[in-house]
Amino acid sequence: MRFRAVTIVVAVGAALWAGAAPAQSLDEILAKNYQARGGLERITSVSSARITGTMSMGGGMEAPFVWQWKRPNKLRLEFTLQGMTGVQAYDGQTGWMVMPFMGSSDPEKMPEDQLADIREQADFDGDLVNWKEKGHQVELVGKEKVEGTDAYKLKVTKKNGDVSYVFLDAEYFLEIRGEGKRTLRGQEVEYESSVGDYKEVGGLLIPHAMSTKAKGMPGGQTLTFSRVELDVPLEDSLFAMPAASKGAAPSR
């Protein structure tokens, strides 16, 4: 029910605004985005999150995952394939992983390019929230069609120089698409992602489906969230790299 209430508020707000002003400034658009998501105050007050879902890789391949985050920047991703669970985690300083699929389940340090990515993932609020404090640049590029739907295109230049684009639905001001470049295994890969299935969780509208693929290529992966929990108690130890062998993987 709360989900519906939020939707209505957003819709009415958008309609009122649409009648009032033909052009939007970046600040206005961002304000609408925060409001649509549940308000800046609520966004930044989330202390932790746990997302449970499945990744579908096309062709029938799929893997369940659990993604856990704790403010300010702790992150742990577990995904399971054939009952074996891989872990990728970051405690704010050290990135590490456990890849038990080829025998060894010892934790190991993460390669630098993956670490760069996970550091960014650890910003649960997203690039658009408090972007000035984070040292990013955000610009309004203009209004464009995203797969037939009007959207505002925002250019985000991160503190480290990476450029990405966020597309906000022009009616609801929620993100529906992202584009950018990632460095993976030393290679630059341009990606595009689609975001949707927003549902209300703990006062926030959170997407429950994301698909991503290399730009211009067929295929790609879809993440479907079956459960999103906010403000769950998560121990710091969950994110720290275990000292001993086997300690990281779920006990089996």
Partner: protein, 1060 residues
């Protein structure tokens, strides 16, 4: 057959339900088609005409390739892989230049200047400032053709454009243009007259204020070509293009034609000019063009000067000059003599238009030909063909009824080819088979004997090829006694009768019919053209240099269409603007062109398509571009041509090549123009461009596969595209488009045989995309889905949900692939992965599809049938299903067993941990846990050595058997059945041990735990295990065999998706 029946039944229902009449119209835009996307089949085995190459030297080398009608392609790895970067714009490229100072700035001049009869048209100059990612058109939109671009080496804002201008008409946007503000404003700095444009531009690299420009008077008509005239000449500016002076000393005095000019980079006082004239020759100046000396007029330099006019001087040797032409000629003595570097080796497609020499290594060349790009490391002696540029220029396309069906078609300067519509691991270059030579056009397999294919080469040379033997039989009709010499179009129509097998039509000025596959011909018409002698000048065509290649043959038949279901009703269109109809098999003919309103007299009839639905209905397209008229002409008659309705709307861009009517849905029409593919759902009242996967490329022909219902599109510049399964488009009505959400029907889906190939071919070859090995489900969303769930659920006949597939959310049509498999099998954790990543395929039958969108659910059906090629009987397929499902279940049982064992072990350890170290119960619990743990290594691999450890337990053995059984579609072997019984027995034995441990000691342990106020040990029940699986498994649905790469993909996806 079942597929066809399915279509027919469905169509009958749909028609009965009443569809929207054309007068109401169905409002559509490109977005209506949403996620519907055509797949590119290629090929790249023979590429297409290349017009411009530029590169950024460095490691790795970045290469840009401009093509005659296939856009711009970029390679960031020295030509190993390419991607198209100009798909939203006109595909005909005349010039391409990378800013030497700012290599992220790239200039493209659209409109090719090798003005052969089939040349396309451009719409101005484009600039990219992000290395080809995005493009802005910055001017000269009426220039139509751009031959060269010069960028000032030290001032990126100063750029010169050499515009040839309109070809089929006079026009003033031609000559040399200059910008000094990076393209914001342009000034015409050199202009001769409205029929003379710029053919080449060269800049002095040391003193960029010195410029040379070749000016060319040239014109085409539908029936004639004129290269040369008083306007042509070579000009020089010494003040940055502000003023120009014609250079005449030493150059031929009379009329000149196309002129190429090049400055030697290592000694810019040396200038070479190739001048078409009464005697075409290469001239050399050693004094900045003040005076020239004729140095060579051999065939190597003088051949076909309107088509081959390009000179490239070696970057470090002013005496080495390359002349791309019929072959690549090179002189090392300042032009005095030329030789072919490929003599003694080398194998490249003839007809060369572009050459790039690496300024850092003069041995490295990239050569652009009529058949693609080649790369040499030894100055052109040996060449590597770049196999990843699918820019084939098809004229026409045909299909057969094989499974999978094959696609046939002829290409500009690249013969005739046959290739499969799909192949294991994608359609590769090696799958394409050459079945005809020269310039290829129409190609049809004989419906009764598909190994016999009708092909042709330019100017009406008709052949029947035995594709198995490669033997060609010339079946060209000859003029009879007392008949005029036959006149055949460059692109002579061959037409198979839709009503009589074995009946073939060929058009000269007469229509010929053969009822014996071309062995004998019967003339069934008088001269159907104007026979106007003023349009029969091909023997004088060419201008200064006669060029009678049949390309200007005129007053010929160009289009033929016999009405399906009405034998003897035959339409004929001619290249001189007549539209003829016979309704009595050729005894009498009527010219109906005057009944068509608003088309200039003499306009070329580009296609005529009789309806398969309504007697007397036909569609015709006309094309006046060869007279400078770029309008879209498109008409329908419902009364055998007495009256015509214009169908062109402002949404359509480009002159029209072809129109096709869907064989099942009468109002579904497809139109190919010079600038793309268009679709109408309402009989032509409204049109929208179909942009899904198809660039703005010329669509010259199409065929709708009679069995599969695929739209096969022949593009002139980007090869073949296939839009799979038109069933949803056939069902798309105005009522559907009014719905918020609607599920559309799909054709019957064949569960494809799992063909596998082990290939490690590298990345340097284009591979045509296969259709997904999945049931493709199409649905309509009026608006983008943003809030709440959107998913597809698949239910079997018993109402059990077998699969849930994530759905796409875009507005318009969406297509989602259901892999026709159950979720991946459950496996217990172990130390290695096992070969069981995918669920078993579901059984054949009809499934219910539910599209869940928030609170709304819409349902439909999809029917899965066996691969029509399957050698396995239904019983054998059922036996495979049975064992696959048993193994699937057994793997789940094993997983439950291991999970329950581990859980009990953990409970015991946990309780033990809460007791003092020397406590007797603690020791008992630890012993109990150890006993449980001892069982685990017999169920799953536990060796930390991992892969290749040889540690194979029940899990690995069952998974291997599962893999063997599920990768084959037929009856399992007796050995597999035995093996299954054996493994099942082993599992039962272990299960017995576990149950004994759960039964025997457990009650006693639990009562002791109770006395110590500790929770009892509770074995995991199968039910609660199952419930846990169900909640854990959020629903969901690789073409690639899973491998270690899977994990990197997981990470990549996660990272990208969560990073916002």
């Amino acid at each position: 057959m079942r597929t066809v029946l399915g279509f027919v039944v469905w169509c009958a229902c749909w028609l009965a339900a009443g569809h929207v009449s054309a007068s109401e119209g169905i409002k559509i835009t490109s977005d209506t088609f949403g996620g519907l996307s055509a797949r590119a089949l290629g090929p790249a085995v023979m590429s297409g005409r290349i017009t411009a190459i530029d590169a950024v030297p460095g490691a790795p080398l970045t290469l840009y390739v401009g093509t005659a009608s296939g856009g711009v392609w970029k390679s960031s790895d020295a030509g190993t892989t390419f991607k198209p970067v100009f798909d939203e714009h006109i595909q005909s490229i005349g010039a391409l230049r990378v800013d030497p100072q700012e290599p992220r700035t790239v200039w493209v001049g659209t409109g090719e200047c090798n003005v052969r009869n089939s040349v396309s048209v451009g719409d101005g100059v484009y600039r990219s400032q992000d290395a080809g990612k995005t493009w802005q058109r910055v001017g000269l939109s009426a220039s139509e053709r751009i031959a060269a671009i010069g960028v000032h080496p030290k001032d990126s804002r100063t750029v010169y454009v050499c515009a040839l201008g309109p070809l089929w008409s006079a026009g003033e946007e031609r000559g040399v243009f200059k910008t000094t503000d990076g393209g914001t404003t342009w000034r015409k700095v050199l202009y001769v007259n409205d029929s003379t444009g710029c053919s080449d531009l060269a800049m002095d690299p040391q003193e960029p204020r010195i410029l040379y420009a070749g000016m060319w008077q040239v014109r085409r008509w539908p029936d004639f070509f004129q290269s040369g005239g008083p306007g042509s000449g070579l000009y020089r500016s010494v003040d940055g293009g502000e003023t120009w002076k014609e250079l005449t000393t030493g150059l031929p005095a009379g009329e000149k034609g196309r002129i190429a000019v090049a400055v030697a980079p290592s000694r810019p006082s040396v200038v070479y000019a190739l001048v078409e004239a009464a005697k075409t020759a290469l001239y050399r100046s050693e004094n900045l063009g003040e005076s020239f000396t004729l140095v060579n007029s051999s065939t190597n330099v003088s051949i076909r000067p309107f088509y081959f006019a390009h000179l490239v001087v070696d970057p470090s040797d002013h005496n080495t000059v390359y002349k791309p032409g019929l072959a690549l000629a090179v002189s090392t003595d300042g032009g005095a003599s030329f030789t072919l570097p490929i003599l003694g080796g080398g194998n490249v497609h003839p007809d060369h238009h572009a050459l790039w020499i690496n300024p850092r290594d003069r041995n490295e060349l990239f050569l652009g030909t009529d058949g693609g790009v080649y790369h040499s490391f030894d100055r052109g002696r040996r060449w590597r063909f770049l196999r990843s540029l699918p820019v084939a220029q098809f004229y026409h396309v045909g299909v057969d009824l094989e499974r999978p069906y094959n696609v046939y078609g002829g290409l500009q300067d690249n013969g005739t080819w046959k290739g499969p519509s799909r192949a294991p691991a994608g359609v590769q270059n090696r799958h394409w088979e050459n079945i005809g030579y020269g310039d290829g056009f129409w190609a049809f397999p004989d419906p009764e004997d598909p190994r016999r294919v009708y092909v042709e080469y330019q100017g009406g040379n008709i052949l029947r090829v035995d594709t198995r033997l490669g033997e060609l039989r010339d079946i060209t009709p000859y003029a009879g006694a007392g008949e005029a010499e036959l006149r055949f179009n460059w692109n002579t129509p061959i037409h198979l009768s839709p009503n009589e097998r074995g009946t073939v039509y060929v058009g000269a000025q007469y229509l010929f019919r053969s009822r014996d596959r071309g062995d004998s011909w019967e003339r069934i018409s008088p001269d159907l053209t104007t026979n106007d002698p003023r349009r029969q000048r091909q023997k004088q065509s060419g201008g200064l240099t006669i060029d009678n290649s049949t390309a200007e043959n005129n007053t010929t038949i160009y289009a033929i269409g016999e009405a399906p279901g009405e034998p003897g009703v035959i339409w004929v269109g001619t290249d001189d603007g007549l539209l003829q109809l016979t309704r009595d098999g050729g005894r009498t003919w009527a010219n109906l062109i005057d009944r068509i309103p608003g088309v200039p007299r003499g306009t070329w009839v580009s296609s005529v398509t009789p309806s398969a639905h309504v007697r007397g209905r036909a569609y015709v397209t006309l094309d006046g571009h060869r007279s400078g008229d770029f309008a879209t002409y498109l008409f329908r008659t419902d009364d055998y041509g007495a009256t015509w309705t214009p169908l062109a709307t402002p949404e359509i861009e480009g002159y029209a090549w072809v129109i096709k009517e869907d064989p099942l849905a009468a109002n579904l029409l497809f139109l190919g123009t010079e600038f793309g593919l268009y679709v109408s759902l309402d009989g032509g009242a409204r049109w929208a461009r179909f942009a899904g996967g198809i660039p703005k490329v010329a669509v010259h022909d199409m065929v709708i596969h009679p069995r599969e219902g695929d739209l096969v599109v022949a593009t002139h510049g980007r090869g073949i595209y296939i839009l799979d399964d038109l069933t949803p488009l056939r069902a798309l009505s105005a009522a559907t488009l009014d719905e918020e959400v609607a599920l559309l029907p799909s054709r019957e889906v064949e569960i494809p045989i799992l063909a596998s190939r082990q290939e490690f071919n590298g990345d340097d070859e284009f591979v045509g995309t296969n259709p997904p090995e999945a049931a493709v489900i199409t649905y309509w969303l009026k608006k983008r889905h943003i809030f709440g769930d959107l998913k597809l659920e698949i239910y079997d006949a018993e109402g059990r949900r077998v699969s849930t597939v994530p759905a796409s959310q875009r507005a318009g049509l969406n297509r989602v692939a259901w892999p026709m498999r159950l979720p991946p099998p459950k496996l217990p954790p172990a130390s290695v992965l096992a070969p069981a990543f995918l669920g078993p395929r579901v059984a054949e039958g009809t499934y219910t599809v539910k599209l869940v969108k928030g609170a709304t659910t819409v349902a439909g059906e999809i029917t899965l049938v066996a691969d029509s090629r399957t050698p396995h009987s239904p019983e054998d397929r059922a036996a495979q299903q049975r064992l696959a499902m048993q193994l699937y279940e057994e793997l789940a049982s094993l997983t439950y067993l291991v999970d329950s064992l581990v859980e009990l072990r953990e409970q015991a350890r946990q309780r033990a941990g809460r007791l003092p170290a020397r406590d007797g119960l603690r020791r008992q619990l630890e012993a109990y846990a150890d006993e449980l743990e001892k069982i685990r290594p017999t169920l799953v691999s536990t060796s930390e050595a991992g892969w290749l450890s040889g540690d194979e337990q029940l899990r690995e053995k069952l998974a291997a058997l599962y893999s063997a059984v599920t990768n084959y579609g037929g009856r399992p072997t007796a050995s597999q059945l035995d093996r299954f019984s054996l493994l099942q027995g082993e599992l039962a034995t272990v299960r017995g041990k576990v149950e004994a441990l759960q039964g025997g000691q457990l009650p006693a342990l639990n009562s002791r735990l109770k006395t110590r106020r500790l929770e009892p040990l509770v074995p995991l029940s199968r039910e609660s295990w199952q419930a846990r699986q169900d909640t854990m498994r959020p629903d969901g649905g690789a073409r690639h065999a899973p491998s270690a790469a899977v994990f990197s993909r997981l990470f990549a996806a996660f990272t990208a998706a969560l990073l916002r």
